[in-house]
C-alpha cells in the first residue's frame, strides 16, 4: 500500500476538529515560549478561538458527509460522536473562561494549564469517536494523564497533591483492569481490535462462556471510573475537594461526557450480544450511585464535596437513559448531559468566584450572600435548583425526559428510585439556596461580612463574568426552549448507525408512537 492510496483511505477529514484543537495546543505552547509570561493576557483567548473553531468544524461535519469511518476503522465520526465532542469542547470553553483569574491568583502559570486542559480535551474528543481498542486506550490515557496533571497543578497546595496522588493511583488501577478486559476481548475475537468486529466475534460464541462476561465486567470498571459511578466513586469527593476548582469543573462535565460517549460506543458495538448483562450491571451502578450520592451529599459541609456527591448522583440518573437502550433513552442521555454542562459548570463558576473573593468553600460561609453579591447568588441558586430538577430550569426537563424514557423502557423500579432520590437531592440543594437568600443581615457569616466590593475590572474577571452569565442564561432559558437541543439529540441518535442497529424494533414502535406527544407536552408546559 503506497502513500497515496493510504492517504485516500484514511478519510482524515473526520478529525479536523481534533486537529484544530491540537494546533491550538501547539500555538499556546509555542506562543508562551516566544512571548514569555506576558502572553498570559492573550493565550486564553487563543485557546477559546481555537475551541470555537473546533465547534464550527463539528457543525460543518454535522451537515456534511455520510462517510464517517476514518483511519481504517480506528475512529468513527458519526453523529453521536459529533454531539459528544461538542459537549466536551463546550465544557472546555467554559472551563477556560472561569479558570483565568483562578490560575492567576493561585500563582501558577496559565499557558501550561491551558495546554494540559487542551490535551485533556483532545483525549476526550478522541474517546468520543474511538472505535478500536488501541485508540480507545490511548485516548483514555491522554484524557486521564492530563487530568492527573491538572489535579495536581497547584503543587504548593497539600490538598491538591493528595488529590492528584489519589486520582493517579485509582485511575492507574482502573486503567489496568480495563486493559486486562481489553486483552480478553482481543483474545476472544481472534486478534481483532475493532469494536464492531469484536462485537461480531462475541455474538458467534454459542455456548454460554464466562470469558465475555469477565471482559465486560473489567471494561465496565474502566468506564465507571470515568463516570464516577458508585462503587467506583471513591476518588471523587477527595479529588473534587483538593484539586483546583476549574479542573473539577472540567472533570465533572467534560471528562464525564467523554466517558458516557465511550460507554455507549463500547457497550453497544462490542457487547451487543451481552446487552442483558451490561444492562444489569449498569442498573446496579445506577441504583448505588443514586442512593449513595444523594444520601451522603446530605451530610456535606463543603460546597465542593457537596457538588462531588451530587455529580455521583447525577451520573446515576444519566445511567437510566443508557439502560433504557431506546432511541429516546440515548437522546435523553445526550440532552441531560447538555443541560448538565451548563448547570454544573455554572455552579462551579460560582464556587470559583466565591472562593476567589473569600478563600473558602464551606457551605455555612455562604450565609447571607444575597445582600452582598446578587448576581452570584442568583446564578448559584438557579444552577443548584436546576441540578435538583426544579421547574422551569433546564435540569427539570432533562430529568423528566430521562425518567420518561426509562418508564417507556419499563424500568419502573429505577425510575421510581430516581424520583425519590431526586426529592432527597432537592433538600440539600435548597439548603444552600436558603442559606444564601433568606438569612437576615445579622445572621450573615463572618466571611460574607468581610466580602470585598464587587469589581469586574480586575484581570481575568471579565471572562469569569461572561462564563457565569452564559451558564445563567443557558440554565434558565434552555429549559424553556428545550426543543432544538432535544431534536439535535434525537437526530444524532437517529443518524448513528451503531445505535440504530442496537435499538430493538419492539421498543422502537412504542417510542415513535409516544415521541410526538412528548415534544408537544413540552410545548404545552412552556
Amino acid at each position: 500500500m503506497d502513500v497515496v492510496t493510504l492517504a485516500s483511505q484514511l478519510n482524515a477529514g473526520t478529525i479536523i476538529p481534533e486537529g484544530i484543537v491540537t494546533l491550538t495546543l501547539l500555538v499556546v505552547l509555542v506562543g508562551d515560549l516566544i512571548a514569555g509570561r506576558k502572553s498570559a493576557s492573550w493565550l486564553p483567548y487563543v485557546a477559546i478561538v481555537g475551541l470555537l473553531g473546533a465547534i464550527a468544524a463539528l457543525f460543518v461535519q454535522w451537515n456534511g458527509t455520510s462517510d464517517t469511518i476514518a483511519f481504517l476503522g480506528a475512529f468513527n465520526g458519526d453523529a453521536l460522536s459529533i454531539v459528544f465532542r461538542g459537549i466536551v469542547v463546550l465544557s472546555t470553553i467554559i472551563t477556560v473562561l472561569v479558570s483565568i483569574s483562578y490560575v492567576r491568583q493561585s500563582g501558577t502559570s496559565l499557558s501550561e494549564f491551558l495546554s494540559i486542559l487542551l490535551a485533556a480535551t483532545i483525549g476526550g474528543m478522541f474517546l468520543c469517536g474511538a472505535s478500536e481498542l488501541v485508540t480507545v486506550f490511548i485516548a483514555l490515557e491522554t484524557l486521564s494523564i492530563a487530568s492527573y496533571l491538572m489535579t495536581g497543578y497547584t503543587k504548593g497546595d497539600v490538598r491538591s497533591n493528595e488529590a492528584a496522588l489519589k486520582y493517579l493511583l485509582i485511575g492507574a488501577a482502573s486503567s489496568a483492569v480495563f486493559l486486562y478486559g481489553a486483552s480478553l476481548l482481543y483474545g476472544l475475537a481472534g486478534g481483532e481490535t475493532q469494536l464492531d468486529r469484536i462485537g461480531i466475534a462475541l455474538s458467534q460464541i454459542e455456548t454460554p462462556a464466562i470469558a465475555p462476561v469477565v471482559a465486560l465486567v473489567f471494561v465496565i470498571c474502566g468506564i465507571a471510573f470515568k463516570l464516577s459511578a458508585a462503587p467506583f466513586h471513591q476518588w471523587t469527593p477527595d479529588v473534587y475537594e483538593g484539586s483546583p476548582t476549574p479542573v473539577v469543573a472540567f472533570l465533572s462535565v467534560g471528562s464525564k461526557a467523554a466517558g458516557f460517549a465511550f460507554a455507549v460506543r463500547m457497550l453497544v458495538t462490542a457487547f451487543g450480544s451481552l446487552t442483558e448483562q451490561w444492562h444489569f450491571i449498569f442498573a446496579a451502578l445506577a441504583v448505588l450511585s443514586m442512593i449513595l450520592g444523594n444520601a451522603v451529599a446530605l451530610a456535606q459541609t463543603s460546597m465542593k464535596r457537596l457538588l462531588a456527591y451530587s455529580s455521583i448522583a447525577q451520573a446515576g440518573f444519566v445511567l437510566i437513559g443508557l439502560i433504557a437502550g431506546t432511541e429516546s433513552g440515548y437522546a435523553s442521555v445526550i440532552f441531560y448531559l447538555f443541560a448538565y454542562l451548563f448547570m454544573n459548570l455554572g455552579g462551579f463558576a460560582c464556587v470559583i468566584l466565591f472562593s476567589l473573593r473569600t478563600g473558602t468553600d464551606r457551605i455555612s460561609d455562604y450565609a447571607g450572600l444575597y445582600q452582598k453579591d446578587p448576581l452570584l447568588t442568583l446564578t448559584l441558586s438557579i444552577c443548584l435548583l436546576s441540578l435538583g430538577g426544579i421547574p422551569p430550569f433546564v435540569g427539570f426537563f432533562g430529568k423528566i425526559y430521562l425518567f420518561w424514557a426509562g418508564w417507556q423502557a419499563e424500568l419502573y423500579g429505577l425510575v421510581l428510585l430516581g424520583l425519590i432520590t431526586s426529592v432527597i437531592s432537592i433538600y440539600y440543594y435548597i439548603r444552600v439556596v436558603k442559606m444564601m437568600v433568606v438569612k437576615e443581615p445579622h445572621e450573615m457569616s463572618e466571611t460574607v461580612k468581610n466580602y470585598p466590593e464587587v469589581s469586574w475590572n480586575l484581570p481575568g474577571m471579565r471572562p469569569l463574568q461572561v462564563g457565569i452569565v452564559l451558564a445563567l442564561v443557558a440554565t434558565s432559558l434552555v429549559g424553556i426552549l428545550a426543543n432544538p437541543p432535544i431534536d439535535l439529540a434525537k437526530a444524532s441518535v437517529q443518524r448513528s448507525p451503531i445505535l440504530q442497529a442496537s435499538i430493538s424494533p419492539a421498543k422502537e414502535v412504542a417510542v415513535s408512537r409516544f415521541a410526538p406527544v412528548q415534544s408537544s407536552e413540552f410545548r404545552v408546559q412552556n
Partner: protein
C-alpha cells in the same frame, strides 16, 4: 519431542517460575527496595516470554521500556525519597491481609477458570518471526496510525506536565495590585516571594 521444543518448554518453565516468584515477592516483601528490584525481574522474564513467542522486537522494547526506564524511574523515586521508617502496627491488620488474600485467590481462580474454559479464537495468520519489526512498522503507519499519532500528543503533554511538576515554583512577575490584594483571598495563592524555594504556604481556612 525434538531439541528446540524441549528447550522452549524448559525455558518457559524457568521464565514462568521467575515471573511468579518475583511477582509474589513484589507484593509480599516488606522492604520496598526489594519489591522494586523484583519488579525488574518480572519485567525481564516477560521479555523472555516474548522472545519465546518469536517477538524479538517486542522483547527488546519490553526490556528497554520497562526495565530500563520504568523500573529505573521507580527505583530512583524510592532512593531519593525513601526514609527508613517503621509504621505503627495497625490493629486487626491480619483481617485486612486475609481479606486481600481471599479476594486475590478468588480472582486467580476466576481468571484461571476463564482462561481454561474459553474457546479462544486462535489467529490463523502465520507468525512473522524475523520480519516482526517491519510488520509493526507497517501497522503503525496504516491501521494504527491514529493511536500512534495520538500517542505523540500524550507524550508531549506528559513531558510538559512532568516539567511543570518538577520545576521551581512559579513566581508571578507582576505583583498583584492593592486592589487585587483586597479583592482576592484564594488560599492557594503564594503570599511571599520565598516561594521560589518551593515550600508550601497553604494555610487551610
Amino acid at each position: 519431542m525434538d531439541l528446540a521444543h524441549g528447550v522452549q518448554l524448559v525455558s518457559f518453565g524457568i521464565l514462568a517460575a521467575i515471573a511468579i516468584v518475583a511477582a509474589l515477592g513484589v507484593v509480599l516483601l516488606q522492604n520496598i527496595v526489594y519489591s522494586a528490584f523484583l519488579l525488574g525481574g518480572v519485567f525481564a522474564s516477560m521479555a523472555g516470554m516474548y522472545l519465546l513467542l518469536n517477538g524479538d522486537f517486542v522483547a527488546a522494547a519490553q526490556l528497554i521500556i520497562y526495565v530500563g526506564a520504568v523500573n529505573v524511574l521507580i527505583l530512583f523515586g524510592i532512593m531519593l525519597v525513601n526514609k527508613q521508617q517503621d509504621f505503627p502496627a495497625i490493629k486487626g491488620m491480619w483481617i485486612r491481609k486475609g481479606a486481600t488474600a481471599l479476594v486475590g485467590a478468588g480472582l486467580l481462580v476466576l481468571l484461571a477458570g476463564t482462561i481454561v474454559t474459553t474457546p479462544w479464537a486462535i489467529s490463523t495468520a502465520t507468525p512473522t518471526g524475523d520480519g516482526s519489526t517491519l510488520k509493526i512498522g507497517e501497522h503503525f503507519f496504516s491501521d494504527f496510525l491514529l493511536p500512534f499519532e495520538l500517542a505523540s500528543v500524550l507524550l508531549l503533554i506528559a513531558m510538559v506536565g512532568a516539567i511543570v511538576l518538577a520545576r521551581r515554583e512559579f513566581v508571578p512577575e507582576d505583583t498583584p495590585t492593592t486592589e487585587e490584594e483586597l479583592a482576592f483571598k484564594l488560599p492557594e495563592r503564594p503570599r511571599e516571594t520565598a516561594a521560589i524555594a518551593g515550600g508550601s504556604q497553604t494555610s487551610p481556612e
